[in-house]
């Protein structure tokens, strides 16, 4: 048996705290008896009577000092117990109950409160992203960067750094992701399941994940990469990491890749890696060459809808009716709609809030009559001069910079687009106004309710001129979303608005309508 003591000079602790600490030390392994106590004469007497007494205590400990006295099997064990008691004494208090309601001002402090955080979500101005992201990666957190306007060099350097640490950088300009079933930023509530997605196209991920949900399957992970990831400069770092993660993930049985066509060298790397995965991989390079995909041993899908259907099929889910077929149109509906239009009404005005959906629409418009103008860069369409003034067929993405500088994204605030709906109605050449309604977290709480007001106003305009306009919509979302898709669809149908189950279906309908 050995008795050891330690005097912590000028150390004050509340007596209740010390009683608790004494108890903790007593419960250490191999400790027979222990006290942590202030060195008042009274306490010293108490220690002596209990046998926990040493010359050191008598000589050295004063009323402002803290005594740690330990009796253990041997010296070494007593020494160890004292060290542990000191660690306990100097330990910064447990974090859980410390935050109170305080909102930290910096990552550093937030990390102190949540040292086991594993993901940071950044939506700060782009020029500050690199600075913050660097310290976040240094602490070993994965990153989702919602911010845009991050310099390309910053993206490259952050992604390379993250890669070296085995961390994922989703973004910049990554609007949506679903990690471990948690929808991040603009994402939908979807069932968890067997299909994993890597997407360099934000609304593409939303469209595919919600369709998969609506087809009865679910999502294991939905990784966003940001649109620039597939550029040669970035080299698809995040996409390749995402593929690797999904290849290793036991919960993922089928993988879906969604992107606009990557730069050539990135495309090769991605397909090369995807082809080696021993799980089915569905690839949608909107407008890309399906032959290359097939050659790599993957399954090409031309549209987002087709990607969702293929993935569900490969996952062994119930076959979706008309699965690989893009167009499945009710001939009766087509005819009936056609009858409502006069001969001057020839053109489509598509007003999108989801960029990928707008891009997909352009892809499906090969057979449109007349020219197509757009504010997106698309090889087969004309660049529109004035984004506020439609010409012939026009496809406008309201999520582009010219509409979002200094205002909220149209998914949150549809007012700008609503005004445009009425404007388009005034044009006697307008036959169809096409709209996407994107549901999900952080989106407008009732997009249908909001758009209906504009539609009613537009109808008042055309009815005066004895015309009718066809409103075609697609609602991207699920019944689990806070806006509940079926409720939104119901509202639209009540207003005689055509609602299609996917963007591709809606576009195909319009193309048939206006080209026949």
């Amino acid at each position: 048996m050995a008795l050891k003591s330690y005097i912590a000079k000028n150390t004050f602790r509340d007596s209740v705290y010390l009683m608790r600490l004494s108890n903790t030390v007593r419960n250490f392994e191999d400790v027979i008896e222990a006290e942590v106590i202030i060195g008042t004469d009274h306490n010293k007497k108490f220690l002596r009577s209990g046998g926990l007494w040493s010359e050191e205590i008598e000589q050295e400990a004063g009323a402002n000092d803290l005594i740690i006295a330990v009796e253990a099997e041997n010296e070494e064990k007593a020494e160890k117990a004292i060290q542990k008691a000191l660690d306990e004494l100097n330990k910064e208090a447990a974090r859980d109950n410390l935050q109170n309601e305080f909102v930290p001002r910096t990552f550093e402090t937030a990390y102190k409160y949540m040292p086991d955080a594993n993901l940071a979500l950044l939506s700060i101005p782009g020029r500050y992203v690199e600075r913050e992201a660097n310290q976040i990666l240094d602490k070993g957190l994965h990153l989702m960067i919602f911010s845009d306007n991050v310099p390309l060099e910053a993206e490259v350097s952050l992604k390379k750094k993250a890669q070296g640490k085995g961390l994922l950088v989703m973004g910049p300009d990554c609007g949506t992701a679903i990690i471990n079933g948690v929808p991040l930023a603009f994402a939908n509530e979807v069932r968890r399941g067997r299909i994993g997605i890597v997407a360099a196209a934000g609304t593409g991920l939303q469209e595919v994940s919600t369709l998969i949900h609506n087809y009865g399957e679910g999502i294991s992970q939905g990784i966003g990469t940001g649109g620039r990831d597939v550029k040669a400069e970035v080299g698809g770092i995040t996409m390749l990491q995402g593929l690797e993660l999904l290849a290793e993930d036991n919960d993922t049985e089928v993988i879906v890749i969604i992107s606009k066509p990557p730069d050539e060298e990135v495309l090769e790397k991605v397909l090369d890696q995807a082809g080696k995965i021993d799980k089915p991989v569905v690839v949608t390079f909107l407008g890309g060459d399906p032959a290359k995909i097939k050659a790599a041993g993957c399954e090409p899908a031309l549209t987002l809808k087709e990607a969702a259907q293929l993935a569900v099929k490969l996952a062994g889910g119930e076959e979706v009716s008309g699965s690989a077929e893009i167009v499945s149109i009710d001939a009766g509906l087509l005819k009936q709609t056609k009858n409502n239009l006069n001969q001057n009404q020839r053109y489509l005005r598509a007003l999108y809030s989801g960029g990928t959906l707008a891009y997909e629409a352009l892809l499906l418009m090969e057979n449109m009559k007349g020219k197509i103008y757009t504010n997106l860069s698309f090889k087969d369409a004309e660049n529109i001069e004035d984004v506020y003034k439609s010409r012939e067929n026009t496809v406008i993405d309201y999520g582009e910079d010219e509409f979002t500088q200094g205002r909220l994204h149209p998914m949150i605030d549809p007012s700008l687009r609503n005004t445009r709906i009425v404007e388009e109605a005034k044009d006697p050449e307008t036959a169809v106004i096409m709209l996407d309604l994107v549901l999900g977290y952080n989106a407008h709480p009732d997009p249908a309710g909001s758009v209906i007001e504009a539609i009613r106003e537009a109808r008042e305009v055309v009815e005066k001129e004895k015309r009718q306009i066809v409103f075609v919509t697609t609602v991207c979302g699920t019944d689990e979303d806070i806006q509940k898709r079926s409720d939104q669809v119901e509202k639209l149908k009540k207003e005689n608005v055509l609602v299609f189950p996917s963007n591709a279906d809606a576009v195909s309908f319009v193309v048939r309508l206006l080209s026949s």
């Binding site: 935050q99 909102v103 930290p104 001002r105 910096t106 990552f107 402090t109 937030a110 990390y111 409160y113 949540m114 086991d116 955080a117 594993n118 993901l119 940071a120 979500l121 950044l122 939506s123 700060i124 101005p125 500050y128 600075r131 913050e132 976040i136 070993g140 957190l141 994965h142 919602f146 911010s147 640490k165 085995g166 961390l167 994922l168 990690i179 471990n180 948690v182 929808p183 991040l184 930023a185 992970q221 990491q241 690797e244 993660l245 290793e248 993930d249 919960d251 977290y441 952080n442």
Partner: protein, 53 residues
């Protein structure tokens, strides 16, 4: 690669507070940071701060 998929997601949110709110409402663990530009965005001061790392 890191075992992100095997652990509970715990998020530090910097910027738009809505993102933190929706996560909180869903029951995801999240801390929001009331972020503001470092050194009020003054580039000269930021370069001094970088010098004093």
């Amino acid at each position: 690669m890191n075992n992100l998929f095997d652990t509970e997601l715990k998020v530090i949110n910097m910027g738009l507070e809505d993102f933190a709110e929706t996560l909180k409402e869903r029951g995801t663990k999240v801390i929001h940071v009331r972020w503001q530009p470092p050194a009020m965005g003054d580039e000269d001061i930021l370069s001094l701060l970088d010098k004093l790392k």
